[in-house]
Symmetry: D2
Subunit: 359 residues, 4 copies
């Protein structure tokens, strides 16, 4: 039995712990393990497949990053091809990927990736490849699993940032706007905002009104709380009618370069007259040492993926449905990103705590 | 509407975050909140009931400990009474507790506590008191809820200890035995041991054979891994036939003072000839700043407890059944402690990783 | 004996620990202590002076921020005055400050502040006020003291950020530019860069050549290290001749808004063709819980300040000249900011490690 | 030019960072570097000398432990020899060490070690070996240097423990006794105790009276502070006349097994009637990831050691005399351990803060 492991997409704390657990679980079953670097397309190159031994994964369980790299070489179904005239088009090289895997004697592939990688996995599975998925998303926006490794670390990083901003905001009577990850889903903003005692949380699931945001800030000011912390997911956006109103500072997601935080901070400062600063956490949420929670969850995912191989659950993804790890068909989770339910108990509790969602 | 909050039993990271969330959620509903110090019996004294305001709970969300103290004054159903001849007996003062609450105009009590406090809560509920419980257990041994606040912090503390011991064990070719909490249940040992890459995990749910433990250590030694980390729950015990064999070093739980770790370390050293040291984490697992995960979970518990009051779910306890917070009847969780299922995926993954349970 | 304590300027981790140590040291000598909020000008208002007791400072030793606020009301020597026609000019209200202190029976003031606050302290001292200074600078740019509280925390925050960026940079083959504090001095950039294993460190003391920076990045690329970490102090600038060349991306300190990191990242990306991202740490370096080192140093500063009051060392500042705390005349430290000596052993070691300073 | 690096004695956070800095600094000078495992006696074995390359030290700067192991094989001047009759005696094999180094073409050795290793280094230097020392002591008890790497990490670990114990002690009205390292010197106890706001600090430099300790605890109790934290260095001892008095619980250093903390806790409990618990931090202080401060200091030591080789400062040790790294003759630092000066400003400040030293 020979299996291979690949990772795709962005970095996530815990990737190495998944790899380690999968490799050890497979080797301890007497299997051979290969590592495919840079996603599925690593199977198109000669030098991107390496043997994985106990030695390869020693001590990586608590290290950030991934020993298999994550920068994808490209999607094998529409792989970039440079033509002789210098232009570039795309070709379907998925058959090559499958052939290459067969030639190397790989009978199953465990792929750790987000929406994009899982979609590729599904198509390769439909063409007959024996694939098991492991969901990877910092934002926690993959359906079918309560959470994934890396999310707790990202939330923890955001909470630590809020804590640091809190003391400075309070000492200086300032409004601080912290932008966290979450293009489609506000999980990081919501969880870190509630745990870190933010005053305002803005997220894609609840379009906000800038005047409601400012109202909250001024209401605090009137009772002697001269500072406020606003946590905003990168994908948050103002409610329809206002897009034009705060136009230039919030020019719409497509063109936005520096993130929503800067525009929001300028707008709040101009409306409230209070000193307002912004900070974009960015890559700090992706990297670094995983939390204990994520180290365990990642190990569980890696172990469960090997059991799924053993049981031949091809086309399935391992998933957390607490307290159990289960498998779910990949096809079922691809429809749309998971989002925060605006009636979820965390949102209700946040409102009870006095946190404003700008709605 | 006037409610009261009490905490009972040992310290747990996140207690203050529960209190803060409950107090703010109640005050923002226009309710009054009292705090009862030192458990239910605080209602027997004159000076243990204090008003709780927004100011009282400001900034305590990320602080360890509890502003309401946790040392119980005693169980009101068998309260210690000092007689005139100096001897002490016990009397049932539960009616006084109920009367006292009524006189203070308290219409509902949120009690945060472990098995003991919840059992008292159930009996007071049966006598007509309007009570909502919030489970509190570092060991994660309360049924009905997937986990409770404080557990993630305790596991994280244990993982950090394992990480620190790892480098020293490896540099010095030593066997290190780390004793963690868990009288009835091995959750802390299991979770920290898997996340921290321990070599042996011993817990109450899987009685161990000392020779299996030593075998694992020597098997590692033979392949050049001259060190090992053993994580042992305080309630772990050797399998029947061996109790006598390792008698003096493991004299049975009842009489054990210094914990199981010392005896185990001595036994391993004498059997393997390898230098062996022990460490008892003890109180370090109870105290300190809660992790981000626990800060959020604690806030959710506090918020949900107030909603349960609103809905009149008397005699219920808030509980995590991911991804939702629910309520369950307290009576249903009191039967016996929650234990690790030896077939749970974490145990399976641990075995796949090569971790020995000494069985 | 009645003394007062004031803090001025920006937030710094450890401020509360200084305040706590000074208050307790004074009270335990039988003195009375007042706290002046918002800098010296707090003495011009009625409501900015509060009594300081043991209770006031309980448990604040490990908290970030300052219970005395730091936003200055203004410099009493050129205090803003709103005239009847609505325009604003400045007046010298220093005599009022001195009178106010005298009326309140304050015989000595301990002021915790940076260059600006120390300069005001010096002028008030010259007018007869009995003042002791405690240096406060995140950047470590105050002369006369080896380091100050808050600097170790800021460096630690920067190192943690580098660690996080490291794994992402390596996994994704990216160049990451991290901007840290240091307008005049590169201490944070240098210390965090060496401890965090940065590849390039840019700081005000060593003007850089952008082509040398790119050369280093490409040299790493050629030996298979496809990522690089650049740590840049906010006050770093390119060597003379090049200012024009990289003009628009680095438009000069005066007009720069978003910091040097963005322009630098764009320039590196356009010159090397490598994907390049930037991150500005900003306020994260100022806030939060002080490190153990800073907690101790802050307590030492607070204790020494009270001893300096006892000894009547007016016009002096407490200072660390390891292993001793000493006092130095404030006038001696005001001349110019402390800077990194380009021949210092840390710079030499950095060069030996292969770190480029872009020179 | 070919140099070798060895480490001896116990683990210390930062060892790997010293090794990394020395190896890179040497290789970047065009030198060859060997690593000697298990101390000087590693030169007596065939398999304990390994080549050190950039690859060998990649990414180890922030890892605890040492890639060169620290368990000494023995002192080459009195090396254990097993005789044919099974008994063991000791022989001087130092000439072999020197010959072996010469045969391998090693022209200089950088040795990282504590008192014991430095004493061996001095004797080898006197026999003509070209040796540079790097001081290593968790306890900070080596003379000639203000501090060494690892000490800040150990103090930080102790402070974190005190923080955790604080909340539990306060919630439960308990006295907690924390034993930290420091056989000869109380630096860890003093620094962590002041930074962590302990109530009592006991250390070898100030013999304590148990009644003074209890007096402090009861004085706190009387003003409503029903808990206390006692930090005790492992080498602390009661003042002469009392040794007998508290005899059995403190039976003298030689026979003491479980550390001083247990006996002290029992004694305090029996005298004050307050619930009292003890915790021995032990190995937790030696291991784990170094703090940012220690990572920088370790890098500086490694870089300075290579410069000392370049300058031929044989028989010298690198040392921190802030803000500079210097070299001092090893012979000058061997006389006796460095101790806390009871008049040092940290002790004075501690007393001002109300901390008792039991004297």
């Amino acid at each position: 039995m020979r299996i291979a492991i690949s990772t795709g997409g962005g970095d996530a704390p815990g990737l190495n712990a998944v790899i380690r657990a999968a490799v050890l679980s497979a080797i301890n079953r007497g299997w051979e393990v290969l590592g495919i670097k840079r996603g599925f397309a690593g199977l198109l190159g000669a030098d991107e497949v390496i043997p994985m031994t106990k030695e390869t994964v020693r001590g990586i369980g608590h290290q950030g990053g991934t020993i298999l790299r994550t920068t994808n070489r490209g999607n094998p179904f529409c792989y970039p091809r440079r033509r002789t005239d210098g232009t570039v088009d795309e070709v379907d090289r998925s058959d090559e990927v499958i052939d290459n895997a067969r030639e190397r004697g790989i009978s199953a592939i465990i792929t750790i990736g987000g929406d994009g990688s899982l979609a590729i996995a599904q198509r390769l599975f439909e063409k007959g490849m024996q694939i098991i998925g492991v969901p990877k998303t910092i934002d926690n926006d993959v359906n079918g699993t309560i959470t994934t490794f890396g999310f707790d670390t990202a939330v923890t990083t955001a909470i630590e940032a809020i804590d640091k901003l809190h003391t400075t905001a309070e000492s200086h009577d300032r409004v601080l706007v912290l932008e966290v990850m979450g293009r489609n889903s506000g999980f990081i903003a919501l969880h870190s905002g509630v745990a870190g005692s933010a005053d305002v949380i803005l997220m894609p699931e609840i379009p906000f009104h800038i005047d409601k945001v400012c109202e909250k800030i001024m209401a605090r000011d009137r009772v002697g709380r001269h500072f406020s912390i606003v946590v905003v997911a990168e994908g948050a956006f103002p409610d329809g009618g206002e897009v034009h109103m705060i136009g230039e500072s919030l020019p719409g997601q497509a063109k936005r370069v520096g993130g929503i935080a800067d525009g929001l901070a300028r707008e709040i400062q101009s409306r409230t007259g209070k000193e307002c600063r912004s900070l974009v956490l960015g890559h700090l949420q992706r990297g670094g040492v995983p939390t204990g929670y994520d180290r365990l969850l990642a190990a569980r995912f890696g172990g469960a993926a090997v059991r799924a191989v053993e049981e031949g659950k091809w086309g399935h993804m391992v998933a957390l449905q607490s307290p159990h790890l289960v498998t779910v068909p990949i096809i079922d989770v691809l429809r749309e990103p998971k989002r925060v339910d605006p009636m979820h108990d965390v949102v209700q509790t946040a409102r009870s705590l006095g946190i404003s969602f700008g709605d």
